[in-house]
């Protein structure tokens, strides 16, 4: 039953021009723009690296967040408000599959997006593909995607209409992209803003991904960063479990 639902949800994602362009194209556009505007080198983790080596993992974080948090929040709010979820709850389909299938679509797209960005980074900007740290990269991508999906479930309960979803999502993630080392190199961000960014999961996900590309030894797993991301995911899940709604607001 899960595979049946998953195939349908994946087809819907792929056929929806909005999700296709926003989720798949936008990270690539951002990578090209930032790699074109900013040149030379920067410093991360105490090492001097090319600016593109800095941007590929940062934009990868953005791609993961777009595929899960942004895409899923929009999907959940829209399908709740237009009555689709309510209708599904009237069938024998278990709630876990309704939600799980949509989340797994996000995770699968996030993994595909990360791979695509890695390949573009290698071919166009000569950014190295991790060898020994590949495990860390895979763990970071999957854990990040899962955690941001859970945060989407929680946030969706605070958004009352499909129209309000996009602004609410953007006001949440855009400022954080700027201060979390996704859009702007960390070395150029004031300490105060960096400290604010440390509270949220985006900077930690970007750092965890970046480490797997910069480091040449070890597993590349940044335990502290990944634990912060995981904590946000668990918190999101707990909030969602208490407040998740199937029926439209005001129903």
């Amino acid at each position: 039953m899960f595979a049946h639902q998953f195939r349908s949800d994946l087809a819907r994602f792929w056929r929806n021009p909005q999700s296709r362009y926003f989720t798949l194209l936008m990270p690539i556009v951002f990578l090209v723009i930032f790699a074109t505007i900013f040149k030379g080198h920067t410093v991360a983790d105490g090492r001097r690296i090319t600016i593109t080596t800095f941007y590929v993992p940062g934009i990868m974080a953005l791609g993961i967040i777009s595929a899960t948090f942004v895409n899923l929040t929009q999907t959940i709010v829209t399908q709740r408000e237009n009555g689709e979820f309510k209708r599904l709850r009237g069938t024998p389909l278990p709630a876990s599959i309704v939600i799980g299938s949509r989340a797994v679509v996000g995770v699968v797209v996030a993994v595909a997006m990360s791979a695509l960005l890695l390949v573009i980074g290698k071919l166009v900007y000569d950014v190295r593909i991790p060898q020994s740290t590949m495990l860390g990269l895979v763990v970071s991508v999957v854990l990040g995607a899962g955690a941001f999906s859970c945060v989407a479930f929680a946030i969706s309960t605070r958004i009352s209409s499909a129209e309000a979803a996009a602004p609410a999502i953007n006001i949440t993630v855009l400022p954080l992209y700027f201060i979390s080392g996704v859009f702007v190199p960390e070395s150029q961000i004031p300490k105060l803003l960096r400290n604010i960014a440390t509270v949220f999961p985006i900077r930690h996900l970007a750092q965890a991904l970046r480490a797997t590309i910069i480091q040449t030894h070890g597993s590349g797993i940044r335990v502290t960063d990944l634990l912060v991301v995981l904590a946000w995911g668990v918190a999101g899940l707990l909030v969602a479990a208490r407040t998740f709604q199937w029926s439209p607001r005001g129903d």
Binding site: Q5, N16, T91, P92, L93
Partner: protein, 312 residues
């Protein structure tokens, strides 16, 4: 419709109550609907129809009263119970990215013993549109697709909440055919509507809810004592005649309405008409606009709901 008198009802409700805050929207209603019956639940907007239906469907908790649907309490419904029930909600948007066939096949996968997807699409008259994305369907076609999704699990009981609201007359008649087909399949159907002709055409049994209470129940033919009411005869008086010249008792019971026509209620329509026709022929007159009618279901409904119909 014949059935064993001790047959288990498909739906049994007694003393059902539900409030939202201070406002009690369902105020102690009783219903009994038998297997294979088409039941129409009538009432103005805000009378408590949808709240009642959603309690029966397992969407809403009740405050008090007994509810059994297919011998289960819907408040503690599980997937097995849901697989025996089909729903058309008052409004639902279909996934725009999927075709009719994909969506029906998707829903078929939710049920243990689904009907054939192709047959079900045919039953609702969407075979020509089976490969169209749902975004290309008209409002009436979407509603019929909704009905197909309600039927795909081969349910015993189907809830249709205002299935034809907003339809043009031809779409409405098409939908009625679909519902009549369901009756042929032996389904129990719980229909809410505020169209009297819909109830008249489809239902075996109707109940009218007003302000959270059931004010009348019966067949469409007997609702509100409609079957015992008098026949109405009306016509225009021939030129040069007066009410007092009418034959027999008609002379005293007839009156002239605002429309200028004579109206009279009788309990012996054949005899009265005979006398009236003889009277006119003897005078050498015709009664060109003569009508004989009984109160329609709509007349009864309007009287029962006492103007509340137009509140919203």
């Amino acid at each position: 419709m014949s059935r064993a008198p001790d047959a288990q009802p498909a739906i049994a409700v007694s003393e059902l109550r539900k409030s939202y805050g201070e406002h009690e929207v369902v105020r102690g209603i009783d219903l009994e609907i038998h297997p294979g019956e088409v039941f129409a639940f009538l009432g103005p907007n805000g009378a408590g129809k949808t709240t009642t239906v959603e309690i029966l469907e397992g969407y809403r908790p009740r405050d008090s009263g007994e509810v059994r649907v297919l011998d289960r309490d819907p408040a503690s419904a599980d997937g097995q119970w849901r697989s025996r029930i089909g729903l058309v909600l008052q409004s639902c948007t279909m996934p725009a990215e999927l075709t009719v066939r994909e969506l029906v096949e998707l829903y078929a996968g939710y049920y243990p013993h689904p009907r054939s997807a192709a047959e079900t699409i045919d039953l609702v008259g969407l075979t020509d549109k089976r490969d169209a994305r749902t975004s290309q369907l008209s409002g009436g076609q979407l509603r019929r697709l909704d009905v197909a999704l309600a039927l795909i699990g081969d349910p015993e009981l189907v809830f249709l909440d205002e299935p034809t609201t907003g339809f043009d007359p031809s779409a409405r008649h098409h939908a009625w055919e679909v519902i009549a087909n369901l009756r042929e399949l032996g389904k129990t159907i719980f229909l809410t509507t505020h169209y009297m002709d819909e109830a008249q055409t489809l239902a075996d049994h109707v109940a009218v809810i007003v302000a959270g209470q059931i004010v009348a129940q019966g067949t469409p033919q007997t609702l509100g004592g409609r079957d015992r009411e008098l026949s109405n005869i009306s016509f225009t008086l021939p030129p040069g005649s007066a009410l007092s010249e009418l034959p027999g008792a008609l002379a005293s019971s007839a009156r002239v309405g605002e429309d200028g026509r004579v109206h009279v209620s009788v309990n012996d329509p054949a005899r009265s008409l005979h006398a009236l026709a003889g009277w006119a022929l003897d005078r050498g007159d015709e009664l060109g606009d003569l009508t004989v009618g009984r109160p329609t279901l709509e007349d009864v409904y309007l009287r029962l709901t006492d103007g509340q119909v137009h509140q919203e």
